[in-house]
């Protein structure tokens, strides 16, 4: 893996003395003045933003990354506890609406350096080649202005940098992973057993958790709290996979700074920097290039909140594209009860996955498909499952006491993009007086059919594995889209290089740019798209 260290030394810049944060690197970080015209500012230090920052810093650019949340120290800031992890989420107000509103709960996006990957589960599959042309191939969704092949080298790079562990992957563009698959716990065993009985192919991985030490990152201790932030530094997040290398190459990260507006010069039509709030004070950072990477809700919100005389309906919104084509995946979870003790809280929730149902099956009434994965709700989330079945009172307590016998699978259904699913500004404002996002979602018939089909397959797998009872809860996961990539400005907000059509020096480099979502978890693709955009930007 010496090749990785040469291009991204993050894992080697972390301490190897049992603590998790290189405080010296942060203390000695380069600092720019607001009046310096830096080469680029990046709004949001999550999946897309941190990769951008690291790539640009490596090329010698003067860059500043802003994040609304803290610069985390896993030792002091994170706990191995479900109820104590609320502060990881974006808990500023958001409104949800539409005919199928999407409650976010602990599925909410992140706030702080590392972004949502701080508490993401850790699945890191690639998209399939078909995801880039669902419109021409299946007559639904959208075609990307780039093909899978354009991202392939970046997938490989990022898989090495996280790094990803798993079996050889037989689906999509078949490929191996840099690390061997992890051993599995009771939940993974159940999935493998049921899948085998049914003739379904299931594989271990792919997870962004190295199998073994990686640089100064220790081995995973299988404690199961991946969705509460990894205190071990085993599970990948940009905080440990890209930020250290960015700092070592002269990037500055300004944490606890909320960017409120992108400024565009009325005469030149170019972005000149960003307005932000630090310690209650309003400030302005000048920049030659502005890159927005604030997540699929906050990125459209920031553009809409940056309306001006030239852009009365919101920045880059001449053709009413900003905030539209927002997508979630339908993520029903089906659990089964076993006589054996499963104890699904042990080991990382992401263990085993099947993409057998990912592509369009001509024999089915719906287009596109779904993936099936292990998910392992901890007690509070599990109580939501049980309560959702209508149980309460003594009944709820009794069923909850059966927790150790349950295994749980989750599906990711490819919901299709629709112009009506979108972020707009609500009348409600946050504590800075900025309108918050209203996120409206409605499902199509295709979406509903997929949810039903996925549920059926999960129930069959669990029954085949020996489950007597099964229960299902409807859920959603993974927001992407909202400022999508397209061939022209009438169909999207950015071009294939993530540059906005409307403002030549304004880029978007997060999950917002995805035109389709497949049935894959999106973080790896978001990072690969950002890495490619950085290459295109720096030539």
């Amino acid at each position: 893996m010496s090749g990785v260290r040469d291009r991204n030394a993050s894992a080697w810049l972390l301490p190897n003395d049992g603590t998790r944060t290189n405080h010296r690197l942060r203390r000695d970080m380069r600092r720019f003045e607001d009046s310096d015209e830096v080469d680029a500012v990046v709004v949001g230090c999550g999946a897309g933003g941190s990769v951008m920052l690291q790539r640009l810093a490596r090329r010698g650019w003067h860059v500043v990354g802003f994040d609304a949340g803290p610069f985390w120290d896993p030792d002091t800031d994170w706990v191995s506890d479900e109820a104590g992890s609320h502060h990881l989420y974006w808990t500023e107000p958001r409104v949800i609406s539409g005919s199928d509103p999407v409650p976010m709960g602990s599925n909410n996006s992140g706030r702080g350096v590392g972004g949502s990957m701080v508490h993401f589960a850790g699945y890191a599959p690639r998209f399939h080649p078909s995801d880039f042309r669902t419109l021409s191939q299946d007559g639904v969704g959208a075609d990307w202005p780039i093909r899978y092949e354009a991202l392939r080298p970046y997938y490989t790079e990022i898989e090495q940098e996280l790094p990803v562990a798993g079996d050889f992957w037989p689906w999509g563009d078949p490929h191996p992973y840099p690390h061997r698959p992890h051993r599995v716990s009771g939940n993974g065993e159940v999935f493998l057993r049921g899948a085998e009985k049914m003739g379904i192919t299931a594989k271990v991985g792919p997870v962004a958790i190295p199998n073994g030490r990686f640089g100064n990152r220790p081995h995973c201790i299988y404690r199961g709290f991946c969705l509460q932030g990894c205190k071990v530094n085993a599970k990948a997040s940009p905080l440990i996979t890209h930020v250290p290398d960015a700092l070592a190459h002269g990037a500055e990260i300004r944490a606890d700074c909320m960017v409120t507006r992108v400024e565009v010069d009325e005469h030149t039509g170019l972005a000149t920097g960003v307005h932000y709030i630090k310690d209650g004070r309003r400030r302005f950072q000048r920049a030659r290039i502005v890159i927005v990477a604030g997540y699929s809700i906050e990125t459209p919100r920031l553009l809409l909140n940056s309306a001006s005389k030239r852009f009365p309906e919101g920045l880059c919104n001449d053709f009413d594209q900003v905030g539209r084509y927002l997508m979630v995946q339908g993520a029903p979870q089906t659990a089964g009860r076993f006589d054996e003790e499963v104890r699904m809280y042990k080991a990382p929730p992401p263990e085993v996955m099947s993409e057998d149902f990912y592509e369009t099956d001509p024999g089915k009434p719906y287009r596109r498909g779904f993936a099936i994965q292990t998910v392992s709700p901890l007690p509070i989330t599990w109580a939501e499952h049980v309560a959702a079945q209508g149980h309460w009172g003594a009944d709820l307590r009794e069923r909850m006491s059966d927790y150790v016998h349950w295994a749980c699978l989750g599906a990711l259904c490819e919901f299709l993009p629709s112009a009506e699913n979108r972020v707009t500004l609500s009348r409600e404002t946050d504590r800075n007086g900025l309108p918050v996002a209203d996120f409206s979602y409605s499902q199509t018939d295709n979406d509903k059919m997929l949810m039903k089909a996925a549920r059926g397959v999960m129930e069959e797998i669990l029954h085949a594995a020996g489950a007597a009872d099964v229960i299902t809860i409807g859920r959603y996961a993974h927001l992407v889209g909202g400022a999508r990539m397209a061939a022209d400005e009438r169909h999207g907000v950015v071009d294939s290089d993530c540059r906005t059509f409307a403002v030549r020096n304004l880029y978007i480099a997060d999950g917002s740019v995805l035109p389709t979502q497949g049935s894959a978890n999106p973080a790896l693709t978001i990072m690969a798209v950002a890495a490619r955009a950085a290459d295109r930007l720096t030539g």
Partner: protein, 198 residues
């Protein structure tokens, strides 16, 4: 009136492991075993209704060490929400106040006594009616979203507490120890077998 429950994990005590937890986690969890912070959000009247509601939702025994309502109160006082609300619901604190007032007025309408003073079966019948309303509005609120609010907050408080973990065999924090024995029916020495299941 809480049912006597069989103890499926006799002798299992998650919090007894606290010396093996990291300081940040031990601090966060052990604080829940101590006295709750003073009430700041609910009025005494709301508090009494909320206590009765949560007693029924979770069938809490009279000597239950989990102060569910105090935990909800402190979340509301600190605006520690889940970060979203349904468009047809007010923000969480207000939604709690309105729904508690709703329970109180239902009790007065049906039994001429405040909700908190009713016997548990009558309280259950009022709560159960809210659950079964479907899409009909209840005191101006959508009952399914009210139900989601109540159960989310109540379950987070109860199953975030070591007392709740003991009852379900969950060992709680696992850092820095982690787990070594993975797989069906595999246990660590600190985990206890289910003696009342199968």
């Amino acid at each position: 009136m809480a049912a006597t429950r069989p103890n499926r994990f006799p002798g299992f005590d998650a919090a007894s492991q606290w010396r093996h937890w990291d300081a940040a986690t031990a601090g966060a969890v052990m604080k829940r075993l101590g006295p709750p912070p003073p009430f700041r959000y609910f009025t005494p009247d709301e508090q009494s209704t909320a206590v009765a509601l949560c007693d029924r939702l979770l069938d809490l025994e009279p000597d239950c060490p989990v102060n569910v309502v105090a935990m909800i109160d402190s979340r509301l006082a600190e605006a520690e929400t889940d970060g979203w609300r349904y468009e047809d619901m007010p923000e969480d604190g207000r939604a709690w106040s309105v729904s508690l007032a709703g329970l109180k007025s239902d009790a007065v309408d049906r039994f001429q006594i405040p909700f908190a003073e009713l016997d548990p079966p009558s309280q259950n019948s009022i709560i159960g009616a809210v659950r079964k309303l479907g899409s009909e509005a209840w005191h101006g609120l959508p009952p399914d979203h009210v139900w989601s609010l109540w159960t989310r907050y109540a379950c987070t408080a109860f199953y975030g507490h070591p007392f709740g973990w003991n009852e379900i065999g969950f060992p709680g924090p696992a850092y820095p120890s982690g787990y070594k024995n993975l797989g069906l029916d595999a246990r660590e020495p600190r985990e206890k077998a289910d003696e009342g299941g199968a």
